[in-house]
Symmetry: C2
Subunit: 140 residues, 2 copies
Amino acid sequence: MTEREQRRPGATPMTRLRRLVLQTLTQAGEPVKAYDLLEILRSQGERLTPSTIYRILDFLESQSLIHRVNSLAAYLACANGQTNAHQPLLVVCAGCQKTTEVHDPELRNSIARRLETLGLSLTATSVEIRGLCPQCAPPV
Amino acid sequence: MTEREQRRPGATPMTRLRRLVLQTLTQAGEPVKAYDLLEILRSQGERLTPSTIYRILDFLESQSLIHRVNSLAAYLACANGQTNAHQPLLVVCAGCQKTTEVHDPELRNSIARRLETLGLSLTATSVEIRGLCPQCAPPV
DNA sequence: GACGCGATAATATATTATATCATTTTGCGG
DNA sequence: CCGCAAAATGATATAATATATTATCGCGTC
């Protein structure tokens, strides 16, 4: 199905490249670094430069379609493919770097309430936690 | 084979440079980037290279004397100084980048308990939260 | 067709971090 | 004190990550 790009106002301009980058991240299922992404796409015959990748990553992040994992300097496709803004907690395994996207409004609220008492507000921005996944956790 | 006696473990080798870097970060009172730190020290007549700075930052972090603020790629002196391993929450203002080190065992426990139910364990590693400080929060 | 506009290309440069090997300093046993 | 070995630092180079700048392309519209 070769549909044409729609450029209606308000519509999300998902161009071929943007879709391709998002698909690639989704298929990876784990955080991928910008230059690794670049290499993957180039190996598929795409001709891309770092600028283009970063612009696309910035765009996808602005749409909440991907998240930047700060502690890894890597990018992760959003687990539930939401288009709308949402507020995940990213839990990064300090051992294997597997990253889990946790959607837990209750936990998030309890964090937000606590920060309120300190005069800080938790906005729709990131919470990133480093911990250990079951495989990397030391035996009990 | 006679193994040579290792250096006594537990003795923290706080050399002049390490102390100097820690003092500089403490005086700054806010996250400082590695190359900014380099510049500050050079302006004081120290002759240092990036390698040295990063080695020292790694060391200080391993001693829990400083924290790396991942979302800023910067380094912050630990608020309560020279104590041992501890588990702060770093709250980074998304507006002005002011960073608050929160020590709140109760909040941390509530996060840990929630993650347990997901099979994840929260170890002595970082929790980094982006939010807004009072100055940067929009008026209600 | 010419214009407007956002996306992409191309090039250069900035920023952050590590690798490697040489040299100096340090702690300790003799 | 001497000398060793390990740790720390110096020096140089380079890798890895990210942004700036300017030009061009594609598409919708007038």
